[in-house]
Symmetry: C2
Subunit: 245 residues, 2 copies
């Protein structure tokens, strides 16, 4: 049985402010929880699950988590879950410190105010698929520890280094890095060959800001054949990386 | 002022059953409403908007909609909206009859039980971007008139022909069509050249069903460099089409 204080504590972690104060975040669902445990990138503070989940999956995480799992009722899970359809398990992890991205010889991603948590999570998952190690986000980008981001990364959160920066300032300090901005007009992605540098993806509705566009070394584009006005930011990221990587 | 009966009527359109009975669906937000009106693919039955929206956008849709717009209050819009953050305008459109897809000389999409409405909407938008005219969905795929699908198509719904079929039956009747199934193992997309046929995309967690896999002429794959277990279905669709189209 979950007490009121702990219920409120977990609920508070749905919000960035509390996550920042507490230094922890929540992950939900078997895939996310098990992967985050197995990669040993985030210290696990607590696992709360239904009796059914415990019976079926306890063996999956036993060696990655020493403490006792908290068995809770469905209605209790519903109360603390950030999902519309709560899964059978929820875990609390400590956030980790970010590492300065190492860009030499690599392709990295830079996100200019990606606001939709689902998009950010999907982009982290795409980065993991294509072996991209670093994502540099503007401070206005969704929080990587937002439950919806964690959910849509499907475990990839543990394998990609995500950092938040004041982008104009950071670029000022990193003048030698080549920036390729994804725009609606530019060099078609089939015609370029990028071995090192940063792919810059813009906001869902406004695209890349003018300030950052001015700093870009080259604009790149996904040629359009039909009539849609734009592509979803995560889809565009996937397409660009699939041609470059 | 919206009366109770009409409020309930619009709310009922959040559900597929009512949409099927009434033969109508709702679209929300300036971009979606204006595009659906301008393409003249769906008969518009009603437009409900805030006073502010009316003053700013009435001229945009005047020539596409003869009848009087219904000015409503913010709290009324909130009641009838299917969005978490209601936009300033909501319109009711008549569904259209689907056309038998013409496959000759074309690349088409086939979706095997895509369940997430956001994914389906994003795939329709991707199809529109790459000039794909037809999407053949299994009966278990999300409803194209689900408000979240309509929302995430961003207006592309009017430009892509989406039909629902019993896929095994339909394939039995269309034995000459080449089927390329997107799977985790198969011919890398950079190595194939497809001029005509159907790209088959599977369910978000289960992939393409065995029954359909057996019918496929070739399995195609997006080579993985990193460690993510899979890619989001809409992202995979975008990547595949970007290499083929």
């Amino acid at each position: 049985m979950l007490n009121k204080t702990y219920t409120k504590y977990i609920q508070s972690l749905h919000n960035k402010k509390s996550r920042d104060v507490e230094g922890v975040f929540i992950g939900e669902g078997t895939k996310v929880v098990v992967e985050l445990l197995q990669t040993r990138q985030f210290l696990c503070k607590d696992v709360l699950c239904t009796k059914k989940w415990f019976d079926e999956n306890n063996n999956l995480i036993g060696k990655y988590f020493d403490e006792e799992l908290k068995i809770i009722e469905d209605f209790e899970l519903e109360k603390i879950s950030a999902l519309t359809t709560p899964n059978e398990v929820l875990a609390v992890f400590a956030k980790k410190g970010s590492t300065e991205p190492s860009l030499k010889g690599n392709i990295s991603l830079m996100l200019d105010t990606i606001q939709d948590p689902g998009n950010l999570g999907t982009i982290i998952r795409i980065a993991d698929w294509f072996g991209i190690e670093n994502i540099i986000c503007s401070n206005g980008t969704a929080d990587m520890y937002n439950p919806k981001v964690v959910q849509s990364t499907m475990g990839s959160l543990a394998r990609v280094n995500v950092v938040y920066k004041d982008l104009p300032e950071w670029l000022e300090e990193n003048k030698d890095v080549k920036i390729y901005a994804a725009t609606l007009e530019g060099t078609p992605i089939k015609e370029i060959n990028i071995k090192e540098g940063i792919i810059l993806i813009g906001n869902e509705s406004k695209g890349v800001s003018n300030e950052l566009l001015n700093r870009a070394d080259e604009n790149i584009t996904i040629p359009k054949i039909g009539n849609a006005e734009s592509l979803n930011a995560a889809v565009a990221t996937g397409i660009i990386l699939s041609h470059i990587c």
